[in-house]
Amino acid sequence: MREWRVAMATYQEFIQQNEDRDGVRFSWNLWPSSRLEATRLVVPVSCLFTPLKERPDLPPVQYEPVLCSRANCKAVLNPLCQVDYRAKIWACNFCFQRNPFPPSYAGISDVNQPAELMPQFSTIEYIVQRGPPNPLIFLYVVDTCLEEEDLQALKESLQMSLSLLPPNALVGLITFGRMVQVHELSCEGIAKSYVFRGTKELSSKQIQEMLGLTNPSATGPQGRPAAPQDPAVTCRFLQPVHKVDMNLTDLLGELQRDPWPVPQGKRPLRSTGIALSIAVGLLEGTFPNTGARVMMFMGGPPTQGPGMVVGDELKTPIRSWHDITKDNARHLKKATKYYDALANRAASNGHSIDIYACALDQTGLLEMKCLSNLTGGHIAMGDSFNTSLFKQTFQRVFSKDHNGEFRMAFGGTLEVSTSRELKVSGAIGPCVSLNAKGPCISENEVGVGGTTQWKICSLSPSTTLALYFEVVNQHNAPIPQGGRGAVQFVTQYQHSNTQRRIRVTTVARNWADAQSQIQHIESSFDQEASAVIMARLGVFRAESEEGPDVLRWLDRQLIRLFMFHLRRSPFLQVFNNSPDECSYYRHHFVCQNLTQSLIMIQPILYSYSFHGPPEPVLLDSGSILPDRILLMDTFFQLVIYHGETIAQWRKAGYQEQPEYENFKHLLVAPVDDAQEILQTRFPMPRYIDTEHGGSQARFLLSKVNPSQTHNNLYSWGQETGAPILTDDVSLQVFMDHLKKLAVSSAA
């Protein structure tokens, strides 16, 4: 028992330390040494990896990494490698190839080691010189079918954003409504734009031709030598912010609502699909493989052309889960396929797409989600552009770190190398496969698999991937005691200051024989990481499979885990959430880091009262008491709930009276705490201030464990909480059921 405690303490520290240093959390920190044992553990060997975890203490080195010379390995020299200082040779710890050090390493010795060989630099970042620095690119794609007020707010936000952009960043503007307009920013005098029909799908080549981006000498006067690409030509639509600042501000200022009349009973015609394809095509033609961000602002669903989500007849509502289940969503499949193809194109060029959707109704995020999911873009969802939720969220995209650099990186690729006993099954996160074949690919695909490299078009410090591995070592070929398996993550990316950088993280874990060391393995289990990793798997499946099937699968897989809240979460349950909302929640779930993900799975509930300092309380209906103020953080919402009594007091205005200053303080305390969360959270959560009986209280009531409902009558009238009107089972029932199952042999 003691030993266990020690181990526990050790592991917690170990896990924390590893996370802090490498941004990695494994489900198991001791790995079962054979495939068979690993399979029995249900939760696979897997990890959450945050490639760009903020490491203020880690100065990048200004040279190129040293690579293993074996063609299909190319692993980077790391602290786990064996080094022969005399012979100036190092052995790759993945393929065991012996490599000479490059000439520049001639001076190394065991006292004069390069940083990448020091254990504390298991994560190291290189700045490399590869070609000219590429500017960052921001392409705004703006819906003009908005209400005047909304458009005004959006215009202001966009104008404001110009001041937030890096001055040398390139910026472009596409507006759309019934038509799609690509604005040329370079010209003086007459404002120029290229206009496209919103209903006609064009190939990337056509778009580039129509924008005049193809080499003009091909069609120009005969006899002229093919002039080198004139940057002025290629960049007419993408200009440095500092140059076109004024121009663009004016342009945005003059931006009008879509002028085409919208007849009664119709939706405005919104050519979102074409607008995006033009944005993608434009970047594809001008800046392939350069970090770029398409930021799309839309105030409603696409209503015409390819990618249309709903027709323009108002009498036909946008698809609901009900329609989808009944296969009544006419446009769903086509639109999804369309955006999927776009997303893949953007991703393969390293461009990411953000969606800022602000409307009271759905806007088609379900169909469009892959645009952001595959390209690492953001999705923000709000009711209107004229809300602080949108404004703050948008502003926060451009937030800077302590070095004054943008918290964004572009065009990342993540490559994973593993020791021989381990193979990579796949990844789940905002990435696409680069289809890089290698020796360490598992046949058993999980998430996006079949590759050792993934592209992550846009990265933030919190972007986190879940990576799944398979132990392939056969039971009859035991690994010697003390053997270690290693995994190396190589992340190449374009830093926001336009530098190319490579971050290399090499981690190792001990192998353990499950039969003899099962307790050790058990103790190395990272419950939090596992919960998130498995939840991601669930979400991934939910995206591609029918909801109930996934729940059944999850129940089968996780019956032994405390997945009560996950089952109820919008990630898996679509009840009460529109298709768009689900897409939105899931999007964030698969790219946020562990801490945030946990909040999403099991919201945090704090209780404020006169009885003591604020305390976390159970997310249970029992926690809802009249004399408490509750603060719930679900990641997407921040709910401040005033209990019945508190609400009455507040209504009576006691807080205004000096003698009740303590009450005032009580009221203020959760608000301050909420503000603190709001400061940092991206995207801005919906901030809800409600009270007992308030309509917005549903946000709280839907989350808490319904330990008291109208069904378990005995609790009626008791002082210990509020009943929830639901048919969902409570945690108690769930647990009872679970226990039953756990002891039955059928499990």
Binding site: M179, I190, K192, Q206, G212, P259
Partner: protein, 1065 residues
């Protein structure tokens, strides 16, 4: 009715066969006078062409080979013999020259005496009652023609001949033109002091009182063109080329001709007008041993006819009240008083007396057609059609045929009903329109209502007459400017943009005080289109580029079509910037189809009609709908496949024009090509939408700026209607069967015109579908429903009544050759699309031959087959027809491009009669004395009429040439050019220097006034004799042989004669 109208022209020419060949051989080589001199060694008896009987015997075989086989010697012999026979007996000979209308004294010898009586007797042939013997009291009839004193005052013969002289003086200009040769007599002849020579001549040959002085006497070695000398001895009849020994010969025929008129004549149907035909017959002289070349002065002279008509008809207003009368020629200045028929400015007919039956019509082959210019501009002294408003129920119309209320509706039953003059259906008069009738059965308000008393008027149309039952919006003008490399480089873009800034103030409007309600839009394009948002609220225009030309659409709604005044600042800023923006363009490719589609979409979006102005430079080869390839293939010219060059390359533009017409989208195309642009295809939409094509080949800013700008100004400013439908209704018995012009037809009756401007004509051909009655005549009503430039829906109605005849002679007496030529040329030019050019030409010649043969057979008195007898009204048919045949379209020279031909072909399709007249027979003015308000008399279009010492102005309708003779007087040159030296004249000048002398001023005035008469600005080209450019100029001397192989007038006349004879035999 003017006597001349009655007069047939008889031209007699005799040749001996064997010489004929050499004769023509000469002709082939030279057009000039010399051969003539030789051939006319003997002064022929002069007769005015006006009645000449031409004896064209055997010789024609040598006529230009293109006319086919030469007759065998045997044939020729036969012809000769026939000729002799024919010429012998009848031959009215001499008298023909004189107009004496009808009953003429039988005795030719007594011409002097007889002539007066003939006038008295001669009814005035005035239209209405040709069948009646002319009341003796009407001596005035000939008067107008002669422009002289009333007949009663006619002096005895000699002077009367002088009086007549103007009509015979056609050749006289020739004298003028050669002042060197015989100045004094010229002036005399011209100004018609009695000339001794004529006197002499006349006295000697009284029956051939003819313009002796004017005719060159070839036999004389002296000045070739004018001889007073020889005349006395051997007054030459120009129409004859008799053997020297035959002077007396004509005499006998003359007298006989005069004597016979009243007798029944074979082939002449009616006894009623006996005399009239007879005039024509001139005896063919007996074959002479030696052969003469036909004297050009002896054949009908267009100048003479024009001058005669001008002299006779310009003094008094032409009143339209009388049914069936032929209006003055288009070359005559006259005033029109609308008294129930449409003014000839609106409607001109080929015949004002049409055959009652289809058989007759077929026999005569005279086309029955009307050339209608519905929105013609009237001179300031004539009132434009009044506007009539019949209230909410709309215009009153016949219940059955839907004809609109007009003077030919007969009110019956005390005014409660009216009977339609077209279909005879009886319709109730609506109560609000009821009016009592007076004792003659006319409504008492007849004179107050234009629709009951006038030939032309307008109705206010109600909403029933509008598209979608919605009152129309004011129209819009959209300017599409090609900004490709060529367009920019030629300076066109700059000029257009500069000009538009001021031009926009002159958009058409109905009330000159108010601003125009026409909205404007701007687009530039090369292989993509740039639309401009010029909304008034913008500080700067905005450009919207549409690159997706495969599927055109309008990228903006608001701010594209704007009111000029509201958006003036933005528009000006735009027009300033366009040339700058594209100054460095390297884009050479253009599109065309999408440009029109864009305009169409814009008008659709604005729900209005309008006009697109396209300024385009090159063959649209960029990838887009309507893309064209260069298919110019000179090798096809002259083959059966030639027609394909005139056909559009694809059906795309035809389909597009259909859509344009449906929207009321009229397209005007200004072309600035440097090479082949396929006018045949590019012109499809303009031609189908009532638009125009303007072409400025090798446009150079400094040279062509003025012409282009004037065309553009006029085109923008001119009054026009939009979204028009024209329907021609006729009285039972005839039917409008075919239409020519710039329009589209989706069925067989409605002429749809997206736009109809004041210069456009629609030519309508009629055919019989039943018998017509002489009593009622035939009616025609042309109704044009259109939207005015202020957006008002209107109906313009033109009515025309003509007589019907059962005698062919009536038909031949009331024809208008200019209109017939207009119709023929349109018909022929259209046929080019489907028929090989040669066939078209042959058909034309054949039809004319048939017309003339029919006349000869049925109306002329029997005469020798060797005589060419032409109806008076049609005596110019051969010369004009030859001009049509020689035109670039039908007989291109090597330097005439396919584009030029296609352009002219389309241009002609909507020309009115006066334009087609000058187009085919240009006006050639000798610039001698220019004092006074009148113009110098024109001369015939032949090189031999030009004097080296003179300066001439030639007007072709498209160009003005100033030809300067190599020996032109220094004073003349100084006056015109400011330099006395021939060599210092700059042939590249496009306008004359403004010199402060009366001559220069007057010349420039004349040029200006010529220009103002034409719908297109005529570029002035100075041509120096012997200069290279003279070739171009000579091309327009249409009586001469043309470089491209066209026959000379003389040769052609012979050929026609041969054709006629073949038909007759």
């Amino acid at each position: 009715m003017h006597p001349l109208c009655f007069k047939p022209v008889v031209i007699a020419v005799r040749f001996s066969t064997n010489q004929a060949y050499s004769q023509y051989a000469q002709g082939d080589i030279q057009n000039g006078p010399p051969p003539m001199d030789h051939s006319m060694a003997q002064p022929p008896v002069c007769q005015p062409y006006s009645h000449g009987a031409m004896n064209l015997s055997g010789p024609h075989p040598s006529y230009p080979q293109q006319y086919g086989v030469q007759p065998s010697m045997q044939q020729m012999t036969n012809q000769m013999s026939g000729m002799q026979v024919g010429s012998g007996p009848l031959t009215s000979a001499g008298p023909g020259y004189a107009p004496p209308p009808s009953s003429e004294p039988p005795i030719s010898a007594a011409y002097s005496a007889a002539a007066p009586p003939s006038y008295t007797q001669a009814p005035h042939p005035v239209s209405g009652a040709p069948s009646q013997p002319p009341p003796p009291s009407e001596p005035a009839a000939p008067q107008p023609y002669y422009d002289g004193p009333p007949p009663s005052q006619q002096p005895p013969f000699p002077s009367s001949s002088l009086d007549n002289s103007p009509s015979h003086l056609a050749p006289s200009p020739a004298q003028q033109t050669f002042p060197n040769s015989a100045p004094p007599p010229v002036s005399q002849a011209l100004y018609s002091g009695p000339l001794p020579p004529p006197d002499l001549a006349l006295s000697h040959l009284p029956c051939i009182p003819c313009p002796v002085p004017c005719r060159p006497a070839p036999s004389q070695p002296g000045p070739p063109h004018f001889h007073s000398g020889p005349l006395p001895n051997a007054p030459c009849h120009p129409l004859y080329v008799p053997a020297a020994g035959q002077p007396p010969f004509p005499l006998a025929p003359c007298s006989s001709a005069f004597g016979q008129p009243r007798g029944p004549q074979p082939g002449y149907a009616g006894p009623q007008y006996p005399g009239q035909q007879n005039y024509g017959a001139v005896p063919a002289p007996t074959p002479a041993p030696t052969q003469k070349r036909l004297d050009p002065d002896s054949i009908p002279s267009p100048i003479q006819v024009i001058e005669d008509d001008r002299a006779n008809k310009s003094s008094e207003p032409f009143t339209t009240g009388v049914k069936g009368q032929t209006p003055p020629l288009v070359t005559t200045n006259f005033q029109v008083k609308d008294q129930g028929n449409a003014s000839p400015r609106f409607v001109r007919c080929t015949a004002y007396n049409i055959p009652c039956t289809a058989d007759m019509a077929k026999q005569s082959q005279v086309p029955l057609a009307a050339v209608i210019k519905p929105l013609a501009m009237l001179p300031p002294d004539e009132t434009r059609p009044y506007m009539v408003d019949h209230g909410e129920a709309g215009p009153i119309r016949c219940n059955r045929c839907k004809a609109y209320m007009c003077p030919y509706m007969q009110f019956i039953e005390g005014g409660r009903r009216f009977q339609c003059g077209f279909c005879s259906c009886v319709t109730d008069v609506p109560p609000h329109y009821f009016q009592h009738l007076d004792h003659t059965g006319k409504r008492v308000d007849c004179c107050d209502r234009p629709e009951l008393s006038l030939g032309s008027y307008e109705f206010v149309a109600t909403v029933d007459y509008c598209k979608n039952n919605k009152l129309p919006q004011p129209p819009s003008f959209i300017f599409f400017i090609d900004v490709s490399y060529n367009a920019v480089k030629s300076g066109m873009v700059n000029i257009v943009c500069q000009e538009l800034k001021t031009l926009l103030d002159y958009l058409p409007r109905e009330n000159p005080e108010a601003d125009s309600v026409v909205r404007v839009g701007f687009v530039t394009y090369n292989k993509v289109l740039h639309f401009y948002n010029v909304k008034s609220s913008l500080a700067q225009p905005q450009m919207m580029v549409v690159s997706d030309v495969s599927d055109m659409f309008l990228p903006l709604l608001d701010g594209f079509l704007v009111n000029v005044n509201d958006s003036r600042m933005v528009i000006e800023s735009l027009l300033d910037q366009i040339p700058e923006m594209f100054a460095d363009t390297r884009e050479t490719e253009t599109v065309f189809g999408p440009v029109i589609q864009a305009g169409l979409e814009a008008l659709k979006a604005a729900d209005c009609a309008g006009k697109l102005f396209l300024f385009h430079s090159s063959l649209p080869i960029a990838e887009a709908p309507g893309k064209l390839k260069n298919r110019e293939d000179k090798k096809l010219v002259g083959t059966d496949k030639e027609k394909s060059l005139f056909q559009p390359q694809s059906g795309f533009y035809s389909n597009l024009s259909k859509e344009c017409v449906a929207q009321g989208c009229c397209v005007d195309l200004f072309l600035f090509p440097n090479q082949y642009v396929d006018v045949a295809t590019l012109g499809v939409v303009p031609v189908s939408t009532g638009g125009s094509v303007y072409k400025y080949t090798y446009f150079q800013a400094e040279m062509d700026r003025e012409r282009f700008l004037n065309d553009l100004r006029r085109d923008v400013q001119k009054p026009m209607g939009f979204d028009a439908v024209m329907r021609v209704r006729t009285s039972t018995g005839i039917r409008a069967t075919d239409f020519f012009g710039s329009f589209f037809m989706s069925n067989t009756t409605d002429v749809e015109l997206a736009g109809l401007d004041c210069d456009k004509t629609v030519t309508v051909e009629f055919r019989h579908d039943d018998k017509l009655s002489e009593d009622t005549g035939a009616l025609m009503q042309c109704a044009v429903l259109y939207t005015s430039c202020s957006g008002q829906r209107r109906l313009r109605v033109h009515n025309m009544a003509v007589n019907c005849c059962s005698q062919l002679a009536d038909l031949y007496r009331n024809c208008e050759t200019d209109t017939i030529i207009n119709f023929f040329s349109k018909y022929a030019y259209r046929s080019l699309l489907n028929t090989p050019t040669k066939t078209v030409r042959d058909t034309l010649v054949n039809q004319c031959a048939q017309i003339l043969a029919c006349y000869r057979k049925n109306c002329a008195s029997p005469s020798s087959a060797g005589q060419l007898i032409l109806p008076e009204c049609m005596k110019l048919l051969p010369v004009y027809l030859n001009c049509v045949l020689k035109s670039d379209v039908l007989q291109p020279g090597a330097d005439v491009s396919v584009d030029d031909r296609a352009y002219l072909r389309q241009l002609l399709s909507c020309m009115d009669v006066s334009e087609s007249h000058v187009f085919f027979y240009p006006r050639l003015l000798p610039l001698v004395k220019l004092d006074g308000g009148s113009l110098p008399m024109a001369v015939r279009n032949s090189e031999e009429r030009l004097s080296k010492g003179g300066v001439y102005l030639l007007e072709t309708g498209l160009y003005l040439f100033l030809w300067v003779g190599a020996n032109a007087q220094q004073e003349l040159l100084s006056n015109i050019f400011g330099t006395p030296t021939f060599s210092q004249i700059d042939p590249n000048m496009t306008s004359l220097p403004e010199l402060d002398n009366p001559f220069s001023q007057r010349l420039r005035e004349i040029i200006d006034s010529f220009r103002s008469q034409r719908s297109r600005y005529m570029k002035l080209m100075v041509v120096k004799q012997e200069d290279k450019a003279e070739l171009i100029f000579k091309h327009f001397l249409c009586e001469d042989k043309s470089a491209s192989g066209g026959a000379s007038y003389v040769d052609f006349l012979c050929h026609m004669h041969k054709e006629i004879r073949q038909l007759l035999s």
